[in-house]
């Protein structure tokens, strides 16, 4: 299941391309659909904001490509690929909207 998968997305009832989170292209966004991990890990990820239905953006990565950084809401959270490959996302096809203030905001 480590690559693209066509399964029915229950939230839309349509066939949609689901990819493991670690395959989400840099700066691409998607909607988290399913977490296939143990209860403890799923709970922990839930506390960090990883729920089915939440929007997620691949925002960066460590120099070696693993771990990768994901943005959920305003948080940047790093996950190892071995964890992220167990999380399925539906890839957004539309270009992510850039916040109008993003270009002018200061540190």
């Amino acid at each position: 299941m480590k690559s693209k998968k066509n399964i029915s997305d229950s939230s839309t009832g349509q066939q949609a391309a689901l990819v493991p989170l670690h395959k989400l292209a840099q700066n691409a966004s998607g909607v988290l659909i399913h977490i296939d991990l143990g209860a403890e890990e799923t709970d922990h990820l839930g506390l960090m904001g990883f729920f089915p239905g939440v929007g997620v953006t691949a925002s960066g990565k460590a120099p070696g490509g693993d771990p990768r950084i994901y943005r959920i809401d305003q948080s940047e959270i790093a996950l190892r690929n071995e964890t992220a490959r167990n999380i399925l996302v539906r890839v957004d096809t539309a270009e992510p909207e850039l916040h109008p203030i993003a270009e002018t905001a200061k540190l």
Binding site: L37, E41, D43, H44, L45, G46, L47, M48, G49, F51, P52, G53, V54, S59, G60, K61, A62, P63, G64, D66, P67, I69, R71, I72, D73, Q74, S75, E76, I77, A78, L79, R80, E82, T83, H99, P100, I101, A102, E103, T104, A105, K106, L107
Partner: protein, 646 residues
């Protein structure tokens, strides 16, 4: 199906008599029944709880820009006038929810539920949330409010939220939560009056407010999003400079360049600026000692004060400038947010050795001292990962090793440049010693994770903070605290040891004349151990130094200062010259290698005992590290003898 109760709080119309103080919508007025005595300060990690706690209590709990700085509860009395007396604030480790994933989170949850021995259940709660990231943090708000304690919700980092175009209607949020809400900036001391008003007006009793029972995270997140929307929460733009800096810092090539440039710069400055300051400080101490000696006319007392106390304690104090230079840079890295990125960069290597990436931050803080580092392992959820990190943390080069490393490097390594103006031979030698500690830690981690602590890999989840400018106040406080610890140890442990050793070096007294050190009890004791350390290239003086350093590593420098000052043959020499004349280069390397590996810190053993609930692991750790130190020093010295002396 478990559900997320979205039933509105049971708040009557009178209770929802919302007041609007300046700067934020302090919400429902509470009944005044009892006096508030204990107030918990809680919130998600890295949202500014300890900064707020420090502002309200005048204390100086450590703060830094990465999650997991606070790992146990700290109490302090509320100060700041307003006529409120006798209120104790309890600063708690950050939590994401009311289920304990790690030891530090367990502390917070136990305190909030009144299940922590020795800590009374809080009468009220200051719930600190990051105003720049409210969507996710409101889930925690619901969980904390459901405890039924009077709670003031503080939306911290108001300045950053507004700077980046965010906004919220605190009045509406207070209505949604059934709890008062205030928008504050703890760093700028903005909006903190709301806290005093809350404590003045809040009784121990709170109207039961039923907020969501959070058994279904997805539904609760929906609830949090809906609450945010109804409160007109306009999330601020993500910080553009954080993204830009991350593009460089996490770049496959530039990231490594930046990392090594930072490391080289820090150590080069420790050996240029730090050494220059240290030499001046040594000179000042020496001159002061000579001036004071004039006023003491009794020979044995002069010897005690000058050779025992002044040269012993002074030889350790001389390294204070270098330690402060090192801590200045560690402070910059911690406060800026770079440290969390370094953890990310190091994770791949950590994973290769079976370690959790979260171990990186405790291991990095072990460069300062292993004691807080071992405490910081509480943020690691997996118990085996945590134990492995506790056991390897003392290998990291703590600041107590810096005096002996600096002394030996300055005594034996010439002051030459490897890369002109960028990297000297001495700085390179110091980096090598730091690397040696790192390598020993990773070798041990591999050993542990492939044997007694073998387990499936634990997930690595790390929230990256935004970059922030370190503040002068924060760095200055850090340096002050470190200097205080160093000087206190010099004035207590090291002073006691040097006086004791001076006495042993002066006894027995024959016909009212103190002994020559070579005939003293100290020499007798040293010679008793000498056969054991002779294969390492050490004489009895170094042996006494090693014995005294079992209390704390830096004591050896004070001990050697006292011993060489008491010896007529080396009395007039500087400590560097005395050591250089007493050791071969092979023995000098063996000595620093011994210090790189040996467990010579009673405070660390005590904290390992506390954190592992028994003596088993500290004893194993002591034997393992001592055995490794002895073997490595033996190999180094014998190799030197074999290749250079034959």
């Amino acid at each position: 199906m478990s559900s997320c109760h979205t039933a509105p709080a049971k708040v009557s119309a009178e209770d929802l008599e919302i007041r609007l103080p300046e700067g934020g919508g302090i919400g429902p007025r509470r009944h005044q029944t009892t006096t508030v005595r204990t107030v918990a300060v809680i919130g998600p990690p890295n949202c500014g709880k300890s900064t707020l706690f420090n502002r309200l209590t005048g204390l100086r709990q450590k703060i830094a820009n990465y999650p997991g700085v606070t790992v146990e509860q700290h109490s302090g009395k509320l100060v700041g006038g307003h006529g409120i007396k006798g209120v104790t604030l309890v600063d708690l480790p950050g939590i994401y929810g009311m289920t304990a994933q790690s030891e530090d989170a367990r502390v917070s949850i136990d305190v909030l539920r009144g299940e922590m021995p020795g800590v009374p259940q809080p009468d009220a709660v200051l719930l600190v949330l990051d105003a720049t990231n409210l969507g996710r943090h409101l889930v925690l708000a619901a969980q904390v409010l459901s405890l039924g304690l009077p709670t003031l919700v503080l939306l911290n980092m108001k300045d950053q939220m507004q700077q980046r175009g965010g906004s919220i209607d605190t009045f509406k949020l207070a209505q949604e939560l059934g709890a008062p809400v205030a928008l504050i900036s703890a760093t700028q001391t903005d909006g903190l009056d709301a806290i005093y008003r809350f404590l003045e007006e809040t009784g121990g009793k709170r109207e039961m407010v039923q907020l969501p029972v959070l058994q279904n995270p997805g539904l609760c997140r929906d609830w949090a999003v809906a609450v945010g929307r109804r409160s007109d929460y306009n999330a601020p733009a993500s910080p553009i400079w954080t993204r830009r800096l991350d593009k460089v810092v996490l770049h496959p090539v530039w990231g490594a360049v930046v990392f090594f440039a930072i490391v080289m710069t820090v150590f080069q400055l420790v050996f240029t600026v730090g050494q220059a300051l240290g030499d001046r400080f040594t000179d000042l101490l020496q001159r002061t000692g000579e001036h004071l000696a004039v006023y003491v006319h009794i020979p044995w007392l002069q010897s005690l004060l000058l050779d025992g106390v002044w040269k012993g304690v002074g030889s350790v104090l001389a390294f204070l400038p270098q330690i402060l230079v090192l801590f200045f840079f560690i402070g910059l890295l911690e406060d800026s947010g770079y440290l969390a990125r370094a953890a990310l960069i190091a994770d791949r290597t950590m994973a290769r050795f079976g370690l959790n990436g979260k171990a990186f931050i405790p291991l990095l803080s072990a460069y300062a001292c292993a004691v807080p580092a071992i405490m910081a392992t509480r943020t690691i959820e997996n118990k085996r990962d945590r134990l492995a990190t506790i056991l390897i943390a003392p290998f990291m080069t703590c600041s107590a090793r810096l005096p002996i490393y600096t002394l030996m490097i300055a005594a034996f390594i010439p002051n030459k440049a490897i890369i002109p103006h960028l990297l000297g031979l001495r700085a390179a030698a110091m980096i090598g010693l730091y690397f040696l500690g790192f390598a020993a830690a990773f070798f041990t981690a591999q050993l542990l994770k492939s044997s007694v602590l073998k387990k499936a890999k634990a997930p690595f989840v790390l929230e990256l903070p935004q970059y922030r400018w370190p503040t002068v106040q924060s760095i200055a406080m850090r340096l002050y605290d470190r200097a205080k610890v160093f000087i206190t140890r010099a004035g207590t442990i090291i002073l006691s040891v040097t006086v004791f050793l001076w006495a042993l070096a002066a006894l027995p007294v024959h016909n009212g004349v103190i002994s020559n050190i070579s005939n003293s009890w100290l020499a007798d004791a040293g010679r008793f151990f000498e056969p054991l350390i002779h294969p390492l290239g050490f004489n009895w003086k170094i042996g006494i130094g090693l014995l005294s350093s079992l209390v704390a590593r830096e004591v050896i420098v004070g001990t050697l200062g006292t011993i060489y000052a008491a010896d007529p043959a080396t009395h007039a020499l500087s400590l560097q010259s005395a050591v250089r004349g007493d050791l071969t280069p092979g023995a000098a390397v063996a000595l620093v290698v011994f210090f790189a590996f040996a467990m010579q810190c009673t405070s660390t053993l005590a904290i390992v005992k506390r954190e592992t609930n028994g003596w088993k692991w500290p004893i194993i750790q002591f034997l393992y590290m001592s055995g490794m130190a002895y073997t490595a020093a033996l190999v180094v010295n014998q190799t030197y003898r074999f290749f250079w002396l034959h």
